[in-house]
């Protein structure tokens, strides 16, 4: 479980807090998306959960935050290895630079933790299969495309079998197929009881698989709830988050009287298709078409 209570953080060079009075609890096994405009505090929050901030960046904190029984203000990233895994935005910078093939790069963290070789081989092969990277196993990480490197960075985190995964825009360089592979992996993590904190800009695809959405606005939690509620909130744009295309289309349909009044606005393609299908059938029944 991840718990933040009245947590604020100000960087040494910051004129205002990067995070302000953050309060939330994420139970074990939940997939929680965090959205917000640039500068809203998403990366800082990701850093705090993974033990990077303030231990490696400096900064003053008030309130407290913990993962399980570990207080994050007292636990640097090096002590959370194996428990919390972080995938950052830029995959290039996550490569160790010291391993000469994808297979070795994925194993790097396990080698540092002293995991038994047979277990290491098993986990590495499993992760490569899950992320469809087996064919690239012997390729140098530096010969891979940005998208492949991003999958590699995710694989390097998954292989550690952490209790908490922090993913900071993990699909930013991936095409639709690659993003699909990542979200399939998230579904697998859910079944394994792994808690996932997903920081994303584009919510169309993650909206299907997340249990909850937090909106950050200028370092504060502006909204916290189920995807259906938060992602259809009319204030979303005011918080710097682009509404989903499906929601926007349905909202325009509402204005034109084409959307059933009692039907909630959709946040997934499936819900949008169902809504427009119902609207079409309704129009046919009424003789409009």
């Amino acid at each position: 479980m991840i718990e933040f209570r009245d947590f604020s953080l100000t960087y040494p060079t910051g004129s205002r807090p990067a995070l302000q009075k953050i309060d939330f609890i994420v139970p074990r096994g939940q997939i929680c998306a965090v959205v917000g405009a640039d500068g809203a505090g998403k990366s800082t929050l990701a850093g705090v959960i993974s033990g990077v901030v303030p231990h490696m960046t400096g900064g003053e904190t008030t309130g407290w935050a913990r993962i399980g029984s570990r207080m994050l203000a007292e636990t640097p990233a090096s002590e959370l290895v194996g428990e919390v895994a972080l995938v950052m935005q830029n995959p290039f910078n996550q490569l160790s630079g010291a391993r000469f093939s994808l297979r070795e790069e994925i194993a790097f963290g396990l080698e540092n933790l002293g995991v038994d070789r047979a277990e290491m081989v098993r986990r590495v092969e499993q992760v490569m299969a899950d992320l469809r990277l087996t064919a690239l196993a012997d390729l140098s990480p530096y010969e891979m495309s940005g998208g492949q490197q991003q999958l590699l960075a995710i694989g390097s985190a998954l292989v550690m079998r952490p209790a908490v995964m922090v993913l900071d825009e993990p699909t930013s360089q991936l095409d639709a197929v690659g993003a699909g592979v990542v979200f399939d992996a998230l579904e697998t993590l859910r079944t394994q009881g792994v808690t996932v904190i997903l920081f994303e800009h584009r919510m169309e695809r993650p909206a299907r698989c997340v249990d909850r959405v937090l909106v950050l606005d200028e370092g504060r939690i502006a909204a916290d709830g189920q995807p259906d509620d938060v992602l259809t909130d009319p204030r979303l744009a005011d918080w710097g988050v682009a509404p989903l295309r499906y929601t926007t289309a349905a909202r325009q349909a509402v204005e034109r009287g084409l959307w059933e009044a009692d039907r909630p606005l959709p946040v997934t393609l499936e819900a949008a298709a169902e809504g427009f299908d119902a609207a079409l059938k309704g129009a046919r029944t009424a003789g409009g078409l």
């Binding site: 090096s78 830029n90 630079g97 790097f108």
Partner: protein, 258 residues
């Protein structure tokens, strides 16, 4: 981007422990430099290195690349020593004010032949050894993981940075920066170096975070994915080669076969 000279294969030479190949390269090099007979380095090359190259099946890659590297070195040594060897007096040929001298050419030939053995031994090692396996072998033999990391990272990140520098140059050229001529190239240094250095510094910060979260720097005993093959026979061979190298050094110090 080619990060290494490694030629993929599964020959007996490829399967040798990298340390065995490293000790072999060091031993033939030390032997080549220990004795002054001019026929000794070519003999070593033909008897020790060439058979290994043939057994490894890398001759098609080995010889063209080796010659491309060694011939310019040998020619440079011959020219420099031929013209400027101190104390030489027997003139072989004259080009204007410069005189090519016999003693210089003899010394240059000997040096070039010794370098041939050195380059041949180490190039064979590079050709038949995956860099990752080499690094694992070094770590498993007790070298500090941090030292091995520095060497590995330098091997990989330097070419990656070169690629980035190329990208920055193209971006700056697209914005009108001229890099033609000496003045243009000098002027282009600042707009090239600025983004490259700042980007590299940012990368260092991010990479430090990534390494921390992946357990680099923990005090736990490391394990290794890459299993480095070794055997009693190879350990014995390494000991024998080390003894040979030591004997060659002692012989050189005592003046035997000079």
């Amino acid at each position: 981007m080619d990060m290494s000279s490694h030629a993929v294969g599964d020959s007996p030479v490829h399967r040798l422990n990298p340390l065995t190949k490293l000790v072999f390269a060091v031993t033939v090099t030390v032997s080549a430099f220990a004795f002054t007979m001019i026929w000794w380095p070519p003999l070593l090359f033909c008897v020790a290195i060439v058979p290994m190259v043939i057994v490894s099946g890398t001759q098609r890659k080995f010889f063209p690349t080796f010659l491309a590297l060694w011939v310019p070195v040998a020619l440079t040594v011959c020219l420099m020593q031929g013209f400027f060897y101190p104390g030489a007096h027997r003139v072989v040929a004259g080009i204007g004010p410069l005189e090519l001298k016999y003693e210089g050419l003899v010394f240059a030939t000997q040096t070039a032949l010794r370098v041939m053995v050195l380059m041949g031994g180490f190039f064979l090692l590079l050709l038949t050894t995956r860099p990752g396996t080499m690094m694992s072998a070094m770590t498993q033999r007790g070298m500090s993981p941090k030292t091995v990391y520095v060497v590995s990272a330098a091997l990989q990140i330097a070419p990656a940075l070169a690629g980035r520098a190329q990208g920055i140059m193209h971006a700056q050229q697209a914005r009108g920066l001229s890099v033609t001529g000496l003045r243009g190239r000098v002027r282009a240094l600042v707009p090239m170096a600025g983004p490259l250095i700042l980007g590299a510094l940012t990368d260092v910060g991010d990479r430090a975070v990534a390494m921390e979260t992946r357990g680099f720097g923990t005090t736990r005993h490391c394990t290794y994915l890459t299993e480095v093959p070794d055997s009693t026979a190879q350990r014995a061979a390494r000991a024998a080669m080390e003894l040979c190298a030591l004997t060659a050094v002692v012989a050189n110090v005592l003046g035997v076969l000079r």
